[in-house]
């Protein structure tokens, strides 16, 4: 099948690549663009390991065709923070032991980022409900929830300090 020319913005950078329409966004990111933070876990849109932010929405990149993502603005874990500018969620996941094998972590943090954008001061229940599209096999979620609540508090404090 012929490949088509694909343009996206990924982590703030304009990117172009060739892909078959059927190629999944997760494969394009990981194999064509070298963005390996998002992972593949279940392939049926249940586990959320492949979660990326697309046009301001948390989506499962294993269930998006490359062609559908043409023109989209995509943010992955790599776009949230790096060695010199860790995102507070990245810090809080470490601080509160919100990860073990690390495989779900990029998807978790990317999803949590969008959750806190929409609800900066969530309750524990809202965090658990809002994170229910992401599976973790290691942590039992308790420390993930703790990390997200701590990040929300940190972000609120930083915002207050800035005002």
């Amino acid at each position: 099948m012929a490949k088509t020319h694909l343009k996206m913005t990924v982590n703030g950078q304009a990117v172009e690549t060739l892909a078959e329409p059927r190629e999944l966004l997760i494969h394009v990111l990981r194999e064509k663009l070298g963005i390996k933070g998002p992972h593949i876990g279940c392939e049926t849109s249940h586990c959320g390991a492949c979660t990326v932010d697309m046009d301001g929405k948390s989506v499962k990149a294993c269930t998006v065709f490359a062609a559908q993502a043409d023109g989209a603005d995509v943010t992955t874990i790599e776009g949230l923070g790096g060695p010199d500018n860790l995102h507070v969620l990245q810090e809080m996941f470490r601080e509160h032991h919100g990860l073990q094998c690390g495989y779900c972590t990029p998807g978790m943090i990317t999803r949590a980022h969008r959750l806190l954008q929409e609800n900066p001061n969530p309750s524990e229940e809202e965090v658990r409900f809002g994170m229910a599209g992401n599976l973790c096999r290691c942590t039992g979620y308790q420390n993930i929830v703790k990390a997200i609540l701590a990040a929300a508090a940190e972000m609120a404090a930083a915002k207050e300090a800035a005002q």
Binding site: I35, C42, E43, C101, Y103, V127, R128, G140
Partner: protein
């Protein structure tokens, strides 16, 4: 000491050694999406392999036609058993002394079995080609129920060994029978049961499930024909064992094989075995001369690699009228699937199922396990437990409850009455183990007090009355469990895998500036070894944990080890690490004495330095000693500061714990909601409390899943009914409760630092605890036992059968 020397406690804290809730060094890369998992590995010219799999559970393979697949542009080759046969790789040995087809050799024995391996330029082409391979099957009668395996009309599954009456573990009485394994005294136990005033009986089924780590299995095999070197990156919980097996199978000399376990996205036992995908990838790389990647998809993972459990445990437990247990009898029918590929130490075909006397002083016991072939996937791995320990714990903790009902006794009191007492350790069990240490009564009392057990029982009684009055449709269940594990396999005298003794190893190099690297034969899959092993070494060598790199998983650099599973890393490799650290310290002492111009015995260790006895102002820090080791000629001492230790444990370790769960059951819908879960673990010396807590949370959640719905279910013709995460239950944050953790600390007397291992305890103890809570909710209505998994409809059925919907 001089004025510049910080006090002891400050120096000690700076090391971040044993007992510190040290933040994990792994997390920086994982939180930034910079982990390196097997599917992240890309090699120039890399090809992709994908399997044609059997849609049938039992069929003859009459022909395989790959013409159309080979004609597809981008397809490089299609391998079948015929291609592997000249290399003698169409079958492979299993860890359990059986053999397994790599690719279907004339027939298939389970749905999802590997039939042909397509190699193509990318994974899309490979998947298209899989669709084009035409396989002509002739269906055969299917055997799903192990209880029917030896009936006259049962189909013979393993025609290859139908006439072999002697198996790897003794005589076979039927072509579908694998082994009988007996432990304990049958005649004495049956005599006790015959005469006992009280005997409770139950069939306890621990259903088939799957470890299902979030990352599936996979590998990249790369044969470098120029240098004659084979490199395989893969999801291997035991990389050195894979290297040895790969060498024996392929004929490639072991020094020319390099196995690398990169970051592993969870294992839980799934990644111990050697799977056809690995073998086919290696062959494909040898054939094509290019790197070949194979990554399972989730359905393949659930259908073909590494099921767990599937034990039918028939039990009888005898006691005096006042509740002193006098005997335990168990017969287990073990459904092993189509090949016996259980990952157990060689001499233990049913693992350590003979720990099934649990935490109790049971004077007489007997266990027999019959392994059976069925048309299901092979495996029988230890899913977050030491070999069959979770089956054993589930069995005994259910039998205790059933006995309590028969006696009309409170189950907490029955347990306390029968615990092995602290003064009985080391304790020799009726089924042959020497329990190293324990203090069960202390843990139990602490747990009951922490949850206000008496108050819970009062609340339960009130709820029951309200239910009977029609004021509520919810019943309250209180689940109790006191489990004892046996982990840290194991002593080389009785534990081996494929002939390799189950020691483990650590090699340490101290650098001239006083930092260090240590390499081990284990491999973390999320346990945080890079964090905790550095803590052990910090306490042993006085080098701050932050200055120690831990490296695992590369067989070219790491010393030989048996890998990570069965909670063996801390008990075995952790001990090797401590002992290697002590070797470093012993040499450091000689160097320090030389530098301080005193006799070796005139100096003593003080956190991070050697000081002259009685002259604390005279000392040499480990940092100074390290520098001297490389920069100063010291008479009679070799330059450098390195050590290696291979540790053969004298015994297993026996972690234990007391768990209590409270849940509410909606009898009309079958829904259960966990309201409280208290977990007290005693894993001996605690290396990193933060990581221990994380392990307990995670293990309990896996236990919740198993107890409440997670299963690999088959229909009557051997189709897998639970092949995706829609139906294979993994709870989300929404279904998962909060847990309260607690501990007691009873160090192992034989382990260098007293540690016992903890990663698997919450799974071993959690499953019976959740299940006991469900059963307990219905105790007042006459229920003695209902089978897992306790999903909505099974709970509803229990309520229905008890007349609660009338």
């Amino acid at each position: 000491m001089n004025e510049m020397t910080p006090p002891k406690n400050e120096r000690s804290a700076a090391l971040k050694g044993l007992g510190t809730a040290r933040k994990r060094v792994e997390d920086l890369r994982f939180t930034q999406g910079k982990g390196n998992y097997v599917d992240d590995i890309q090699q120039p010219g890399m090809l992709f392999g994908d399997f044609v799999r059997s849609p049938y559970a039992h069929a003859r393979v009459k022909s395989i036609n790959a013409e159309a697949a080979l004609a597809l542009p981008g397809v490089v080759a299609v391998l079948t058993a015929k291609d592997l046969e000249p290399l003698s790789l169409h079958w492979m040995p299993t860890l359990a002394g059986d053999k397994q087809m790599v690719l279907a050799d004339g027939k298939v024995l389970f749905q999802g079995q590997e039939v042909a391996f397509v190699i193509a330029e990318d994974r899309y082409i490979a998947a298209d080609a899989v669709e084009l391979v035409e396989v002509d099957y002739e269906e055969r009668p299917v055997l799903v129920d192990p209880m029917k395996a030896e009936l006259p009309d049962a189909p013979v599954l393993r025609e290859d060994i139908a006439d072999t009456l002697e198996g790897a573990h003794g005589p076979r009485r039927h072509p579908n029978h694998i082994f009988t394994w007996e432990q304990g005294d049958k005649a004495a136990t049956e005599a006790v049961i015959a005469e006992a005033p009280v005997v409770a009986e139950e069939m306890v089924y621990y259903h088939r499930t799957h470890p299902c780590p979030l990352e599936t299995c996979g590998c990249v095999a790369s044969m470098d024909k120029v240098n004659g070197k084979l490199t395989v990156w893969g999801t291997f919980q035991a990389p050195h064992v894979v290297r040895t097996v790969a060498s024996l199978l392929s004929g490639i000399a072991e020094h020319n094989i390099r196995i690398i376990s990169p970051d592993i996205g969870g294992g839980f036992g799934n990644k111990v075995g050697v799977y056809p995908g690995y073998v086919c990838s290696i062959v494909a790389s040898i054939v094509t001369g290019k790197p070949v990647k194979w990554i399972e998809d989730r359905m393949e993972n659930l259908m073909s690699t590494a099921f767990a459990r599937d034990y039918w445990m028939k039990g009888k437990i005898a006691a005096t009228a006042d509740g002193k247990i006098t005997g335990l009898w168990c017969h287990t029918t073990a459904d092993h699937g189509a090949f016996d590929a259980c990952a157990d130490p060689t001499k233990f075909p049913a693992g350590f199922m003979n720990i099934c006397t649990g935490s109790y002083d049971i004077p007489t016991a007997y266990l027999a396990v019959d392994g059976i072939y069925t048309n299901k996937a092979p495996g029988g791995v230890a899913y977050r437990c030491s070999f069959r320990v979770t089956e054993a714990a589930y069995f005994i903790e259910r039998m205790i409850e059933v006995l309590a009902i028969k006696l009309g006794m409170d189950a907490a009191e029955l347990r306390a009455k029968n615990f092995i007492r602290k003064d009985q350790f080391p304790y020799n069990s009726a089924l042959g183990w020497e329990y190293d240490s324990g203090d069960y009564h202390t843990a139990w009392d602490k747990a009951l007090k922490a949850v206000d057990y008496d108050g819970l029982r009062r609340e339960q009684a009130e709820r029951l009355e309200a239910f009977k009055r029609g004021e509520t449709r919810k019943l309250m269940g209180i689940g109790l469990t006191h489990f004892t594990e046996i982990v840290g396999a194991g002593p080389v005298k009785n534990c081996d895998i494929l002939g390799m003794g189950m020691f483990d190893s650590c090699e340490i190099r101290i650098h001239p500036t006083g930092s260090a690297i240590a390499r081990l034969g284990t491999i973390s899959q999320g346990q945080g070894h890079a964090t905790t092993f550095a803590q052990i070494l910090a306490s042993e060598t006085g080098i701050p944990a932050d200055d120690i790199t831990i490296e695992e998983g590369d067989t070219d650099t790491a010393p030989y080890g048996l890998g990570t599973y069965g909670s063996r890393s801390t008990p075995v490799a952790g001990a090797a690490t401590a002992l290697a650290g002590r070797k470093i310290r012993a040499k450091a002492q000689m160097i320090a004495a030389y530098l301080l111009e005193v006799h070796d015995n005139d100096i003593e260790w003080d956190v991070d330095r050697f000081v002259v006895k009685g002259a604390p102002e005279r000392f040499k820090t480990m940092k100074e000693i390290a520098y001297a080791a490389y920069n100063q000629a010291i008479p009679g001492v070799e330059p450098g500061l390195e050590a290696v230790s291979y540790y053969d444990p004298p015994n297993m370790t026996y972690p234990f714990g007391a768990y209590i769960c409270v849940l509410d059951i909606d009898v009309d819908t079958g829904e259960a909601e966990v309201r409280k879960f208290y977990a007290l673990d005693d894993c001996g010396t605690r290396i990193n409390p933060m990581i221990i807590e994380g392990q307990v949370h995670g293990g309990l959640t896996e236990a919740l899943a198993i107890a409440m719905g997670q299963e690999i279910a088959y229909d009557e013709i051997g189709n897998v009914k639970t092949g995706t995460l829609m139906d294979f239950f993994l709870p989300t944050a929404w279904e998962t409760p909060n847990y309260t953790t607690d501990y007691t600390e009873t160090p192992s007397p034989h382990h260098p630092i007293g540690a016992k291992g903890v990663g698997e305890s919450p799974n071993v103890g959690g499953v019976p605890c959740f299940s006991n809570a469900v059963n307990d909710a219905f105790r007042a209505f006459g229920l003695t036992h209902t089978q897992m998994p306790h999903d909505h409809w099974r709970i509803w059925k229990t309520a229905h059968d008890l007349g609660l919907h009338a």
